[in-house]
Subunit: 283 residues, 4 copies
């Protein structure tokens, strides 16, 4: 995902410095004009630095660790975080950057790497309004739409977690429907067509419905472990804000059961198997 975003920036004419723990991963970008930095701190020694990482621990090490982003970023420069990370960590990064006289804008994205490569991500941005505006040319490079969510960076992350929750809970909805129609001897493809050509015609219904229909779980787009991580962050946000989320709890249990059954490396839509199994169906 990070590569695709960096490439979009190069294509848009920005000067881009890149860093990856595995330097060889950055080679194609260097061939396209990017400069390779020796450390996160060096990469951050610019007008702005963008991070795109897998999870909270990766962000924390790279930003707060030795030779990390926070060490290298100049006063007045901007850290644009785009990872799906926790609200709590986002707030801690904001505090850290404020303390160092740096700017923090958060802009997590909705979409998979091919959408990034095509500049078709949906971007949720939050931070000080003038700073968000200053980042807009960057965000437009990989996003088809930029939605401004609020003035506290972590608000964008909270909404991003909500979007992911909607994705996972839609998979559960469809899993329950598929189990019911299959036991009622209805052709699942007929059922999905009817639903996705009437009231339920969003990408979230069509794309994931098709994967579940085809039981197309391997190789994964995003795997079960990643989904389990996301839903944990959703529930963590709910806990920190004292908001019970019963659907999220059920989805969490589906992910845990999938991991317990050895499906960690399948596509996350494999959690739809659980409703089928509970109904006594082969999966």
């Amino acid at each position: 995902m990070g590569s695709a975003m960096a490439r979009r920036l190069l294509q848009a004419g920005h000067r881009v410095t890149v860093y990856n723990r595995t330097a060889t991963r950055a080679e194609p970008l260097v061939a396209e004009g990017a400069v390779l930095a020796a450390s996160p701190a060096r990469a951050a020694d610019n007008e702005a630095v963008i991070t795109m990482l897998a999870d909270d621990p990766a962000v924390e090490v790279l930003v707060c660790g030795k030779d990390g982003v926070a060490d290298g970023l100049p006063r007045g420069a901007t850290h644009l975080t785009t990872s799906t990370m926790s609200v709590a960590l986002t707030d801690r990064l904001t505090d850290l950057h404020v303390a160092k006289g740096q700017i923090h804008v958060s802009a997590p994205v909705l979409g998979r790497p091919p959408a990034a490569a095509a500049g078709e991500l949906f971007v949720m941005a939050a931070g000080a309004p003038t700073e968000v505006e200053r980042m807009r040319p960057v965000l437009n490079a990989f996003g088809q739409r930029v939605f401004v969510i609020g003035t506290r960076p972590s608000q964008a992350n909270l909404l991003k977690l909500c979007a992911n929750f909607l994705i996972y809970s839609t998979v559960e909805q469809l899993g329950e429907v598929f189990a019911l129609v299959e036991k009622g001897d209805i052709d699942r493809a007929v059922a999905l067509q009817m639903l996705t050509e009437s009231f339920f015609n969003a990408p979230v219904h069509k794309n994931y419905g098709q994967l579940i229909l085809e039981r197309n779980f391997d190789p994964p787009g995003a795997n079960v472990v990643l989904g389990a991580k996301d839903i944990r962050l959703v529930l963590q946000a709910g806990q920190d804000l004292s908001v019970p989320l019963p659907f999220a709890s059920i989805v969490r249990d589906r992910f845990l059961a999938s991991i317990a059954r050895g499906e960690s490396d399948l596509d996350f839509t494999a959690i739809a198997r659980r409703a089928a199994e509970d109904g006594g169906l082969k999966t």
Copy 2:
């Protein structure tokens, strides 16, 4: 709903006989050319009869009762059921009609009365293929699309219940999301716009999301009691087919809590209040 459907048939040039327990309700249709029947049996004494009723007991009385549809329908004629009724009752009607040499086609519809009036319902049809085809001109009169679901009439009803389950569980999804974003100080309208202009842009998201956003629960489109009835039928179908449906159980509890709090006559989207209340928000 029945009026709107009958009017579409008249407009399409069909001869239409109508019956309503409250005869005055049928007067506008009579003014437009329909013939008023004195009983369901008389209304059924035709090539085909269509029933559109609120719930199982209403269907059972009107079809199986004295001077009911089953009494009046000639051998070889067709009963087209369009109500959202239980799989079990649909199966019993099929058996009854078979025993009497009558035809049963089931064709529940997705959409509200204005869609019926505009001929824009989505129709799920099931029954013997030749009989479903024979009904197609009728179905086309009020439906923008006719999906053929299977050969057993009740299969259409099972899928219709699944569609309603998707509607109600989407309301719960959005209710949880709204509670979370509101406690996170995000403008709910901003959140809804972002979601419905990216991956979650189906009518089910937009229409019900807007009602929840505006807390526009009175007067109801369809009320809480009707929703509670539907989700009960979904769970009943799950029970009869031995399929656990955890999301449906949660939605059922939301409906029961709404009824217990005196919200029976509000729009069913009022169940989104429950997630907000559990999060300590004013609703």
Copy 3:
């Protein structure tokens, strides 16, 4: 169960007339002094009649059907219902008996057949206070304790359903605990001993905990289908009174999943397998 109760009455010196759809089943009781009746109506033609049946439909046929209990019971005589049946049916029977000038006392029991044979059941009685008192010698014949619950017969049934709900939900509690300790490499027997010799030392913990520990599901004491019926009645009562019961919904799903997996004839404690399976354990 009915036999054991009748035998206790004979042993206490009561005159007893018996009826069973399968007459041979009543033979041992006849050998012990009971009189065999040819129909429920004949059996009911006495000062009082006691019914103990498996479920609502069995009660309805035997009481309200042709030559049923309600036909034979004299005015002023008492129908003592002891089955675990629905609140709704119990209310209907009360209305029926009132209309016929008969008395209705409800007295469902807690305990299995051996407890009945030993006179050690726990009895929940409800009805008009003087009528409940008049039945006390009968209730004392098979019960170690008689608790008077209320003046409306169905109140006893509601509490009986609550007791059964506590049993089934305790099985789920223990199932979750066993799954967790087993995956934590704790000896399940050690865990059960610790729990049942400290705060959790009720019969409901000890008896069912032991069955789950030993995976002793066959032959059943009471089977999965019976448990599924009970929990359905609990949820039905919750629906009629508008009370959401989230634990009951989860237990219902466990029963449905057990039925879907072919475990209908196992002891109902087999639903504890579900938590283990969800945790990836062999069961």
Copy 4:
């Protein structure tokens, strides 16, 4: 709790050194013969040190922080942890002590301070068998029973979390039952008596049932925040071991809703209000 345990040790003739962040809290114990230490490290500079603290962060600071227990404990000496803390932290402490040549025995306890004062706690002990045995005189000073759970210290903590889960989920069971019987016009006291004098007569039923019956939530024995913390640790253990715990998720939501409604400082049995409220009852 810690005071009561220390007093029992003094009474049993042990030499006791005490430490509390608020030194005045330790004064009564000093008056009874204990020696006051100036830091956790000083308190730990003995044959064995016992810690009893509120939560994971408190343990972590006191054990691993500067002048902490781990700094002061001699090689070969034993750290006996008795707090209800996470499995993960317990494992980390074990690793830490092993690395320093120290012994770690874990022995969380079931019971409230008065039980500790009377020497009537239930103790769950885990660790190397010889080390657990060497601690037995200490454990016997405040425990009526010592159960040996396993050889890995954290196993005792996992079982302790299970016991707490059983307590909280029993409160939810009873809350649902009370809501149902109250709406069925049954006297709640009658219902509780019947249940706790038949199959459901464990301390967990009687003690907490009484508190819920009397709506006796203030002052708290242990408050809602503490319960919320415990159930979070249970779910965390379930996540780390990949075991879905649907009852625990529901209980978690009850705690969050109670916190959201401003009930943080009430007794944790106040979560029984949620089922009542969902049923439309005053609480």
